[in-house]
Subunit: 300 residues, 2 copies
C-alpha cells in the first residue's frame, strides 16, 4: 500500500472543515461562518472560520491550517528534535453555545511531519458541559468508545485517561469538563501502520458531528434562567483559565508566533469571574462534584 | 541604625491594607470590602479583601499576605537559590471600575527574605485605561516620577522602562496599558541601605491613593455608551490574557500552590472575546496606537 502523503492529509482536513461547517450551519439554522484566509510568512497558511450570534452557537470557530518551513527553535527544543523542515496540518474546533444547558465542545485533529522522516498524528474530542448530565455524558463517551473500539481494544481506555490528565485544571483541582479522548504523537511505534493510524484519526474526526448532535439534542431548546446564564459565564471563565494557563496547543501557538486571532478563537464570547463564587443550586453543586478524573462515564 | 525586621515590614503592609481599603471605600461611597482570612498549611497566611458592585469599583481586591516556611522547590529553581527557609510579605491591589472611562489600576509591594540572609523588595504601580487620555497618563506618570525622584534620579527612568517591558503582551504586540513603574529584587547592591530601599517602597505604596484619586477624577461621572461598555469588556479580555499568559506573579502563585481565589481576584468581573475585534471609534483606534513601549508620557 502506498504511503499517505501530507498533501492527501491536508486536503482531507480541508474537506473536513467544509463538511463540518456545512453541518453546523444546518444545525444552527440562523447564522453562518465567515472565513479569513491567512498566509504564514515562513510558509503555508490557513482558513479560519468563525460563526457568531447563531441560534445554537453564540461563538464558534472551525479552523484549518497547513503550515511548513524550518522548524521553529522552540518546537525543536520542546520536543527534543534535530533541525529539519516541518509540515503541520490540522483542524481545530471550539463551539460556545448560547444556551447554558448545551455543552461547549472541542475537537482537534492534526498531523505533523519533518523532512527527516519523523511523523505523527494527534487529536481528540472533549466536552465541557456547564451542567453535567450523566446520561448525556454516557452517550458522548459511548460515541468515542465505539469509534476507538473499531481500531483497537486499548484505544478508548488509554485515550480517555489521557484526556482526563490533559484537561485537568490543576489550580482549581477540577477537570475542564467530562473529558473525552486525547492522543498525541501516535505513529507506527505501536505496530499499526500509518494507514491504520490515519484511518483512526479520520474516524475520530467523523465522530464529531454525530456526537455533537446527540450532545445538544433535547438541550438546545431547554429554557434557562438568569441563574443558569451566570453559571455559564463562570464556567466559561474556567475554560479561559484552562486555555491560557494550561493548554499546550495555545501556549505553543502563542510561543511560536502563530496567528493570535485564530489561536484565541477558542475563548468564549463573554466570561465572568466572581471572587469565591459558590454554586447556586444542586445541579451546580453536582456538576462540581463530577469534575474529576477517572470517572467511568459509560458504566456508572 | 537598626536593621528593619520582617515583622516590622509585614505590620506596615497590614496597616497599608487597612488604610487603602478605608480610602477606597470612601472614594467608592457605596460598597465595602469583605474580608477572608486564610492560613497557609506550610506557614503564614493572609487577609484577602474584595469589594464588589460599588458605585466606582465593579470588582476590586486588596490583598495582604505574609507567608513563610521551607522555600518551594519551584522558587529555588526559578530564582537559582540554595535551600533555606523563606519569608514573603506584600500587598496586591487590582481595581476594575464600573465606568469604561475609568482605568484599571494595579499595585504590588512586596518583601522577600531567606534564612541565609538574602533579601529584596519588589513592586510597582501601573495603569490600564480602557481609553487612553494623554493628560491623565501624564498626570499618573508625574505622580510616580515625583515619588521616584525623592529617592534617586535614576529610579523613574529605570523602573518606568522595566514596567514597559514587563507589562508587554507579546502575542498582541501591545502593552497592557500605559505602564507605570515596576521593580524587583532591589536590595543593597546599588549602594543604598535596606532602610533607604524600604523607605522608597513605602513611598511608592503611599503614592497609590493620590495617584488613583487623580486618575478617576472627572472620569468617574462621565457618561458612557453601550459602545464604550463593549470596548471595556474587550480590553478586560486583554487584561485576562496578560495575567494568565504572561504575568510572572500569577504563574508563580499558581505554580506554588497559592490560594487560587486570592491570586485570581485580579481577573475582571466580566470580559469579552470577539474574533478579530476592530475598534469602533477614533478614541479606540488612538488608544491602540498608544499601547506601545517607550512613550515618554510626561514630556509628550
Amino acid at each position: 500500500m502506498e504511503e499517505i502523503s501530507k498533501t492527501e492529509i491536508a486536503n482531507w482536513f480541508k474537506n473536513l472543515q467544509d463538511n463540518i461547517c456545512y453541518s453546523l450551519e444546518k444545525l444552527d439554522g440562523q447564522s453562518s461562518f465567515k472565513e479569513d484566509k491567512w498566509d504564514r510568512p515562513e510558509g503555508g497558511g490557513g482558513r479560519s472560520r468563525v460563526l457568531k450570534d447563531g441560534k445554537l452557537i453564540e461563538k464558534g470557530g472551525v479552523n484549518f491550517s497547513a503550515v511548513s518551513g524550518p522548524t521553529p527553535d522552540k518546537i525543536l527544543k520542546a520536543l527534543n528534535l534535530p533541525q529539519a523542515d516541518f509540515f503541520a496540518t490540522g483542524v481545530s474546533i471550539v463551539l460556545h453555545p448560547q444556551n447554558p444547558w448545551v455543552p461547549i465542545i472541542h475537537m482537534n485533529v492534526r498531523y505533523f511531519e519533518m523532512s527527516n522522516g519523523v511523523w505523527w498524528f494527534g487529536g481528540g474530542i472533549d466536552l465541557t458541559p456547564h451542567y453535567v448530565i450523566s446520561e448525556k455524558a454516557r452517550n458522548f463517551h459511548q460515541h468515542l468508545k465505539t469509534t476507538c473500539d473499531k481500531h483497537s481494544p486499548e484505544f478508548y481506555k488509554k485515550f480517555k485517561q489521557w484526556a482526563d490528565e490533559y484537561f485537568f485544571v490543576k489550580h482549581r483541582n477540577e477537570t475542564r469538563g467530562i473529558g473525552g479522548i486525547f492522543f498525541d504523537r501516535i505513529n507506527d511505534n505501536d505496530g499499526r501502520s500509518k494507514a491504520d493510524q490515519w484511518r483512526f484519526v479520520q474516524d475520530v474526526a467523523e465522530t464529531f458531528i454525530p456526537a455533537y448532535k446527540d450532545a445538544v439534542q433535547d438541550l438546545k431548546n431547554r429554557k434557562w434562567s438568569q441563574e443558569d446564564k451566570i453559571w455559564q459565564k463562570i464556567r466559561r471563565g474556567r475554560y479561559v483559565e484552562f486555555n491560557l494557563v494550561h493548554d499546550k496547543g495555545t501556549k505553543f501557538g502563542l510561543d511560536t508566533n502563530g496567528r493570535t486571532e485564530s489561536i484565541l478563537m477558542s475563548l468564549p464570547p463573554e466570561a465572568n469571574w466572581e471572587y469565591d463564587h459558590q454554586p447556586a443550586n444542586d445541579l451546580q453543586r453536582e456538576t462540581l462534584s463530577l469534575l474529576k478524573r477517572g470517572i467511568d462515564w459509560i458504566n456508572t
